[in-house]
């Protein structure tokens, strides 16, 4: 499990877990879980396009993530948040279908992009993932207080002058970076479970924002490391364990909730 060919898996998965733990904390607080589902899924056609054109896959993902951010935030001016998000997914998947129909040698690649390919990570991927991840983490920590205030109440954020539209756009940008970091590693479907599972548990375990954020990273790391180990030992897919352990995180957090269950009022 710790053989040299596994080194890339451990390194990249660790980076992805840290980014997802931090960004996921705000995904859950900002009720942006749907966007966290749609941006990765809407970015995978970018990889398909890159394959058709013979370009760089990660570049295709970054380009489609960026298009997703611009598309969703533009549509949000006219539509409710979840409708805007869904409309982008419809367009992106349509393009994905088209691109996939143009290439034959891609079915295995599609599977990897949807469900991840942790054990097949090339060394060339480490540096770009590290750079994109570092930008996503820095941006989230710089925007920490405005994001927190806007998550508490958009009205209070607006009154403090954080600017609702700007915060939303900036956060979608961070989410897109996180997508580009994690998609080639854990796959479009599993990015989502990693963003939501650990973070949703962490907010039950502490009522201090920075502690909860740290716990989100810790749970995310535990999820990813356990998933890789279990997958190696069982030969079952990594994605299966990431998803299941995300659920386990939530259940544990819910049961160990500080201050007991929420009183009705």
């Amino acid at each position: 499990m710790f053989a040299s060919f596994m080194a890339n898996a451990w390194i990249v998965a660790t980076m992805v877990a840290i980014v997802a733990g931090i960004v996921g904390f705000f995904v859950v607080l900002r009720r942006a879980a749907f966007a966290a589902h749609v941006l990765p899924l809407g970015a995978f056609p970018g990889a398909a396009a890159a394959s058709v054109l013979g370009g760089n896959e990660l570049l295709g993902i970054v380009a489609f993530s960026a298009l997703g951010v611009l598309g969703i935030s533009q549509l949000q001016r006219w539509e409710r948040r979840e409708v805007a998000t869904a409309l982008w997914l419809a367009v992106a998947l349509a393009l994905g279908t088209l691109f996939l129909s143009m290439t034959r040698r891609y079915s295995q690649g599609v599977y990897a992009l949807l469900f991840g390919e942790v054990f097949g990570i090339r060394s060339a991927l480490i540096a770009p993932v590290a750079v994109l991840g570092a930008i996503a983490i820095t941006a989230t920590l710089v925007l920490f207080r405005p994001l927190l205030l806007d998550s508490l109440s958009p009205e209070l954020g607006e009154a403090a002058g954080t600017g609702r539209g700007r915060i939303e756009l900036a956060f979608l940008g961070v989410l897109a970076l996180c997508t580009a970091t994690a998609l080639p590693v854990v796959g479009a479907l599993m990015v989502f479970s990693l963003l939501v599972g650990p973070a949703s548990a962490a907010r039950f375990l502490s009522d201090r924002p920075l502690v909860a954020l740290t716990l989100s990273v810790v749970l995310s790391l535990a999820t990813v490391w356990s998933a890789i180990a279990l997958s190696y030992l069982s030969n079952w897919p990594v994605g299966f364990f990431v998803g299941v352990l995300g659920g386990v995180c939530y259940a544990t957090g819910r049961l160990r909730q500080r201050g007991g269950p929420v009183p009705a009022h």
Binding site: R145, P146, T162, R203, V262
Partner: protein, 273 residues
């Protein structure tokens, strides 16, 4: 008062997509004054408060808020009906802290001066007992105290509250009103508070701004809340009735409006006996 007013609004006009909300609204609030903003639903109370905060751009007129010289905002704002996520990992104390530095960039570093300021504010609003509890687990009245502390912690010269008494039980209403009166005297903060019922505020208000029919009248409560003044404002006859120290403004011609609406809608008219 003109120069020293905490808030002065002149000739204010606001319309949304062609519909006039406020027209030529004019009033002033003196420093430390407790001012009630009263009016029926849809009279533009929220729009007026948002314009003062700067969230709505007026079509015409002038809003001047007395600057405190610090360069920062000198308006504190408690919006209407904030629905807080029960699970958000924030203590009451963190919410007050975000009132101080919520717009700043970066992760908050430990600061004794900041903690002391937050602690003082928590004590001032009587939140010492629940300062370390999760905000989503507090009662409506407790949350309202925390939101007041959030808005006041920067010591603004003017505090705006949008319907802070709605959805509170009678006892919490009395406690919040008494708290706000004390805070406005203690910090010399002018308060402009909107409500649809003026009665809980009658014992504490220095001034009333009454909004109706897009316009405003302001002055002492017993000068403004009078049949002839409000009839002129509404543009039709209203009755101001005083019962055991309470005031009721009967401005509704709802029965006539509803009959007229029913008459325009033949399907429903047929079903009404």
């Amino acid at each position: 008062m003109t120069d020293a007013a905490a808030l002065s609004v002149a000739g204010l006009g606001i319309s949304f997509s062609g519909r006039q909300i406020l027209k030529d609204v004019e009033f002033q609030v003196a420093p430390g004054e407790f001012c009630a903003l009263i009016g029926p639903n849809g009279s533009g109370k929220t729009t007026l408060l948002k314009a003062i905060v700067g969230l709505v751009t007026p079509d015409s007129g002038r809003i001047a808020v007395d600057a405190d010289g610090s360069g920062g905002t000198s308006v504190g704002y408690v919006p209407q009906k904030i629905s807080l996520d029960a699970h958000i990992p924030l203590r009451a104390r963190d919410v007050v802290m975000l009132g101080l530095d919520g717009a700043r960039l970066g992760v908050p570093l430990p600061s004794r001066a900041r903690d002391a300021r937050v602690e003082e504010m928590l004590q001032a609003v009587g939140a010492g007992d629940f300062a370390d509890r999760r905000i989503g687990h507090l009662s409506g009245g407790q949350q309202q105290r925390i939101l007041v502390a959030h808005a006041l912690v920067r010591r603004p010269r003017l505090l705006l509250l949008d319907e802070p008494l709605a959805n509170l039980d009678v006892r919490s209403v009395a406690e919040i009103v008494a708290l706000l009166r004390r805070l406005s005297l203690q910090y010399q903060t002018a308060i402009l508070l909107s409500a649809h019922d003026m009665n809980p505020l009658l014992p504490v208000m220095d001034r009333i701004v009454y909004l109706a029919n897009c316009c405003a009248v302001s002055g002492k409560a017993d000068e403004v809340v009078r049949t002839e003044v409000l009839s002129r404002l509404y543009g039709y006859h209203v009755d101001v009735v005083r019962v055991h120290g309470r005031v009721v403004v009967i401005a509704a011609h709802e029965p006539e409006e509803i009959r007229a609406a029913l008459a325009r809608d033949p399907v429903h008219t047929a079903e009404i006996p």
